[in-house]
């Protein structure tokens, strides 16, 4: 038997196994699912306005930077288009976590923060969250600012800075991508806990309620963060192997680091 045909058989076996796993997941793990984002009416108006004021300059900065880069490089837009679609899908995709018996979603802002930079990633997140709040009953318009701050600002900057810091310490692409995805996810839910605790606490002290909420997120978000890390590492590594020129162009790596 030719080595090529052996490879094809192994490849089709792997494909079959993946399909079987996907069918298993659909049959036995999917059900009525909901995801995160702060829903309409959860935050008092004052707090909702406060988070919107925090988010607004970041979104404006993203728009300004997008316009500036696209004016000199029209090929930047397809990558932003890809990242917007990826963030939109990932952040409304509920994933069942068997260890917790609940569902939640990854954020996708780790990978977008790495590839298009944290500021444009915030813009992408704002657009994705707006569509979800308007048409998918996922998140709310009054809580849009709070969701932008947790998922967009914190997720994108944490992912970007983690990746840059680890790469500057000569860490491999896969490890840096994994840690960036992991910390971007955890930072998002950490910030959501801050937003929720500060919004609903009334006269109660902040810290006990914050810890209570954060601990309640852990059974779901701990494994989901690991999944987001693996996903981010996979995407970054694939791009590094297939299109290192794009990573150089996006200033993710230096030209001499390309394969």
């Amino acid at each position: 038997m030719q080595p090529n045909s052996i490879f094809k058989i192994q490849h089709s076996k792997r494909l079959l196994l993946t399909l079987l796993l996907a069918v298993y997941c659909l049959l036995f793990t999917a059900s009525n699912v909901h995801a995160m984002h702060l829903s309409e009416g959860i935050l008092p108006l004052g707090w909702a306005a406060f988070w919107s004021v925090i988010a607004a300059p970041f979104v404006a900065w993203g728009l300004w930077q997008m316009k500036k880069i696209a004016a000199v490089d029209i090929s930047f837009k397809p990558l932003v288009g890809l990242m917007a679609a990826v963030v939109f899908i990932i952040s409304c995709m509920p994933i069942p976590v068997p260890s917790a018996g609940t569902c939640s979603h990854p954020c996708g802002t780790g990978i977008s923060g790495i590839l298009v930079g944290p500021v444009i990633s915030i813009l992408i997140t704002a657009a994705a969250l707006l569509m979800q709040a308007l048409f998918l009953a996922h998140g709310g318009l009054s809580t849009w600012g709070a969701d932008i701050v947790s998922m967009g600002v914190m997720g994108s900057f944490t992912g970007f800075l983690t990746f840059k810091a680890l790469r500057s310490m000569k860490t491999s692409m896969a490890v840096a991508g994994f840690m960036a995805g992991l910390f971007a996810d955890w930072a998002t839910y950490f910030t959501t806990s801050v937003e929720l605790a500060s919004g609903i606490r009334g006269d109660l002290p902040f810290m006990p309620l914050f810890w209570k909420i954060l601990i309640a997120f852990i059974p779901t978000q701990l494994p989901l963060g690991l999944l987001e890390g693996a996903m981010t590492a996979g995407m970054v590594t694939l791009l590094y192997k297939k299109r290192p020129d794009l990573l150089v162009k996006m200033r993710v790596i230096r030209p001499e680091e390309a394969l």
Partner: protein, 115 residues
């Protein structure tokens, strides 16, 4: 009496036992997944319900209906399908362009073992 294992035998044993172990672990994970599905009382609620809305309700805040309420019957599933199809098409289209098309040769390209 000394028990000695040759390195080739050890390698053979290792190559057989690791895939078996991996299959065993996958089977355990799938079994646990199935059991947790079958016996969980509140099946797969989102963390918005189990954490966000639960704590908000305890402190006197409740989620309002969204401005455009698509959570009626199967309408939400339909919209998720449309959103998934449109988003999936856009992601797939650009992904293909990014990873399947040939990269142009870069100046000063060299081999690098890192990554």
């Amino acid at each position: 009496m000394k028990f000695r294992v040759r390195s080739s035998e050890f390698r053979e044993l290792k190559s057989k036992s690791i895939p078996l172990l991996v299959r065993f672990l996958i089977a355990i994970v799938l079994l646990l997944g199935f059991l947790s599905f079958a016996f969980s009382t509140d099946k797969w609620s989102g963390v918005d319900e189990t954490v966000v809305e639960k704590f908000a309700k305890e402190h006197g805040r409740e989620a309002r209906e969204p401005l455009i309420n698509t959570d009626q019957g199967d309408l939400l599933i339909f919209l998720f399908l449309i959103a998934g199809a449109v988003g999936g098409f856009a992601a797939g289209y650009y992904w293909r362009m990014l990873v399947a098309e040939k990269a142009p040769k870069m100046k000063g390209q060299k081999q690098n073992s890192r990554g």
